[in-house]
């Protein structure tokens, strides 16, 4: 198990290397440059070239990449062009908000999506099923910025019980959590329902029932464990998605997270922040995927057995 874990961790290295090459080239090959954005339309050619020199943008690209890579390995992602603060500091400053939001969003998605799916499957082809499916479909289809604005209108203006933006208390997180989680919630609900329907018809469930075990116990002991496997896969995949999609939520609710940091940096052509931020995101998604794989093993004894056999 540990060997497997280390092996998977090693796989992250080429992935991150690839991401670094990709993001470095995209950022540097895109038109425009940070010196011009910073100095604005009134800058003279001389001022622009001075600043380019200061920022180290006049060196050949491969040299710049080399410097970037060596510094990154040392844990130094450079300084933001816009704010002059160390990129690592900026990322660590912003990451807690994003992580909190993503975790809360995922909890919301699971806590609402899972029961919804189970309920729909247990009451298959009744109005309950239809309602749950409709709810899931709507949740998946409506764009989340719209949900955000509607919630804001409802809960901050018509019934003013929640603050519409900011980052001061737990109440600030309620609306963003819903907005961020709603799509994943819908996917989880659909996934749970179909997975349930499959498992319910399995021989071992019928056997358990035939033994006279109560419905509730069959559900908890024999069905749920098996239902969880595809659900965990989806949740893992969507967690990465959520980290990426957090930008919209952060923007609508003015939450100072990593997504907004990167988008602002892209606008200002703040190379170091874009590179560092994207690399950090890639690392997070990689780690989440790894954790999902490990979770499988915990949930499914068959997979654990495979690791053992491999040893």
């Amino acid at each position: 198990m540990l060997r497997y874990f280390i092996k998977r961790l090693m796989f992250l290295v080429p992935v991150l290397l690839g991401v670094s090459v990709l993001i470095f080239s995209i950022v540097h090959l895109a038109p425009g440059d940070p010196a011009e954005v910073m100095l604005g339309p009134s800058a003279t050619q001389e001022e622009i070239s001075n600043l380019r020199e200061q920022l180290g943008l006049t060196k050949p690209l491969y040299v710049q990449y080399g410097i970037f890579l060596t510094n990154t390995l040392k844990g130094d992602l450079g300084r933001s062009i816009k704010s002059n603060a160390p990129v690592v500091e900026e990322i660590l400053d912003r990451f807690p908000a994003t992580l909190t939001l993503a975790v809360l969003g995922m909890i919301f998605a699971i806590v609402v999506g899972l029961p919804l799916g189970i309920l729909a499957a247990l009451r298959q082809n009744t109005w309950v099923d239809a309602l749950c499916s409709f709810f899931a479909l709507v949740g998946f289809s409506i764009p989340n910025f719209w949900v955000g604005l509607m919630l804001m209108l409802l809960l901050s203006i018509y019934i003013p019980i929640l603050p519409s933006s900011g980052f001061d208390s737990w109440r600030n997180f309620i609306m963003p959590t819903i907005v961020l989680g709603i799509q994943t919630m819908a996917v989880i609900a659909r996934m749970t329902r179909s997975s349930m329907l499959e498992v319910i018809r399995q021989d071992y469930v019928r056997t358990a029932r035939a033994k006279g075990i109560s419905d509730r116990l069959v559900l908890v002991r024999h069905i749920l464990g098996n239902v969880m496997i595809p659900v965990v896969t989806i949740a893992g995949l969507y967690f990465g998605n959520m980290l990426g999609g957090v930008v919209i939520t952060e923007t609508i609710f003015s939450i100072p997270g990593l997504g907004r940091l990167i988008v602002d940096a892209i606008r200002a052509q703040d190379y170091p922040v874009v590179q560092g931020g994207v690399l950090f995101f890639a690392l997070c998604v990689g780690i989440v995927n790894l954790m999902v794989d490990l979770l499988y093993a915990a949930l499914d004894p068959r997979i654990k057995a495979q690791y053992r056999a491999a040893r």
Binding site: S42, A43, S83, S254
Partner: protein, 502 residues
């Protein structure tokens, strides 16, 4: 039960924390959070607004953009290139250090040091030498007579720093520390979210009307509005979404603010691209576009047709000026015919992605089509538009110009031929315009200087290497309890006189 009690206590505490702020706290929302509070490292108006509350300058502008004393009580010019500033006595920085001429010298030297790589260094580039004559007298000598000096000294980039504070904070200056002599002291900055300032009771202009300022960055227009409506913020100082302004102006729960902006929107023409080298063609294009219609359609009526190259709130604007070229498609057709383009020609308009700019470009396209000019629109990233147009773009380009508040800053970068290749994006050389701009820069007598600029504006208008478009308007809004707020045309509004009523 125990758990429930704990939960209840936590809930009540949490609720208590998010109760509306005390009356002495003014909460403002801008489009973005500050990027730094190091005056010499920033180039955005959002940082400038916060900087304005923390720091003082030698001189400042009032709400009419006239120069008023700040840290300098007075100044005189022994000759054309020498400026002697008499500094206020007994002023203290927020860290307790006394303010002296040495601080001014340090500040300006830091700004000019290439190592600082300040985007604002350009404002002092005419400075030859500086000398702290005594603790309260500073002498500045310029390389040549430089009349825009005072306006340069009102810029946020030239706000006065304290050497000890800057050196003590090192690279963290501007993010963890910011020390000035202004009405508010820096308290904290949570990056991407908000800056908190507290009142400086020893401010030489008298203590401010509120105890605390909270500047928040809220990028979404809709969110900013909802926050104002729900009472989460008190004031949106500028950058109020245009499309919502008409509604809020009618709503008596809010106070609204309108003021002409320093910025003008124009469509520049690269005069090296055919047929923009022909002044008749350029004039025809100016006559062909109905500016008022674009203001009404795109800017919700907030703005006025440009009256030449400068906005009416720029120092040196000639108040006698009429709107540049009235809408007259017949005259446009005549001029085109005269220039040999009776059947029109093909051209490209470059613009960035902003909805308003793009819509304006589309309307211009339609108006040009009326007189036979076939324009196509090409969209570019903002930074790409800036750099491509500086090097010479393949047609016309949508751009705005803000300048420094002085006629020199509104004309020299854009029209002087020395700036071809950078900010003179028309790539247009006129000896008349060059000479007038240089004369304006060197004339220290204010009345004579105004006259020179009146001529310069007329020359730019006549030779029109651009299509004059719109003098924009700034709009802001606040809740009714905000009293005494004035929106400044440069979008940098001091708030130390603002009070809050219940």
């Amino acid at each position: 039960m125990k758990k429930f009690k704990a939960f209840a206590v936590i809930t009540i505490l949490a609720l208590a924390f998010c109760l509306p702020a005390s009356a002495a706290e003014l909460r403002l929302a801008q489009v973005a959070d500050v990027s730094s509070l190091d005056t010499q490292k920033v180039s955005d108006v959002y940082s400038a607004n916060v900087i304005r509350q923390i720091y003082s300058n030698l001189v400042q502008v009032d709400e009419n953009m006239e120069i008023v004393p700040d840290l300098a009580e007075g100044w005189d010019n022994p000759d054309d290139v020498t400026w002697v500033f008499h500094l206020r006595k007994g002023v203290k920085f927020h860290n307790g250090e006394p303010f002296t001429a040495a601080d001014v010298k340090y500040t300006f030297e830091r700004l000019l040091d290439p190592k600082t790589a300040s985007p604002g260094a350009t404002h002092l580039k005419e400075v030859e030498s500086m000398e702290a004559v005594d603790d309260h007298t500073l002498k500045i000598v310029t390389k040549r007579p430089f009349a825009p000096m005072l306006m340069s000294l009102t810029r946020y980039e030239t706000a006065i720093l304290n050497q000890k504070a800057v050196e003590a904070a090192g690279a963290d200056y501007g993010s963890k520390a910011a020390v000035g002599t202004g009405p508010f002291k820096f308290e904290s900055w949570s990056r991407g979210d908000k800056v908190v300032l507290v009142r400086n009771d020893e401010y030489f202009g008298g203590p401010a009307g509120v105890e605390k300022l909270v500047y928040r960055g809220i990028p979404e227009d809709a969110t900013r509005l909802v926050e104002l409506e729900s009472g989460g913020i008190d004031l949106i100082p500028g950058n109020f979404p245009y499309q919502e302004f008409a509604n809020i102006e009618k709503d008596d729960r809010y106070e609204t603010y309108r003021v002409p902006a320093m910025s003008t929107l124009y469509m520049g023409l690269n005069t090296e691209v055919k047929p923009f080298g022909d002044v008749r063609v350029r004039k025809a294009m100016n006559y062909a576009v109905d500016k008022q219609a674009i203001i009404d359609a795109v800017y919700f009526g907030l703005g006025a047709p440009a009256r030449g190259p400068l906005s009416p709130v720029i120092w040196g604007f000639d108040p006698e000026r009429k709107p540049s070229y009235p809408y007259d498609p017949n005259k446009a057709r005549e001029l085109l015919k005269e220039a040999g383009f009776a059947d029109g020609f093909d051209m490209t308009i470059y613009s960035d992605n902003r909805t308003e700019r793009r819509s304006a470009a589309e309307l211009i396209q339609a108006y040009l089509a009326e007189v036979g000019i076939r324009a196509q629109i090409e969209l570019m990233e903002w930074s790409a538009l800036l750099s491509t147009s500086a090097k010479g773009i393949g047609g016309a380009f949508m751009l705005g110009w803000t300048g420094t508040g002085d006629a020199d800053g509104g004309l020299t970068p854009v029209y002087h031929s020395a700036n071809i290749g950078s900010s003179n994006r028309f790539r247009y050389k006129s000896e008349t315009i060059d000479a007038l701009i240089e004369k304006g820069m060197a004339t220290l007598d204010l009345d004579a200087r105004r006259k020179v600029y009146a001529e310069a504006q007329e020359a730019c208008n006549e030779e029109c290497p651009l299509v004059f478009m719109i003098s924009q308007e700034l709009v802001g809004a606040s809740s009714k309890k905000v009293q005494g707020f004035k929106l400044y045309p440069n979008m940098i509004s001091p708030v130390h006189k603002v009070t809050l009523s219940n």
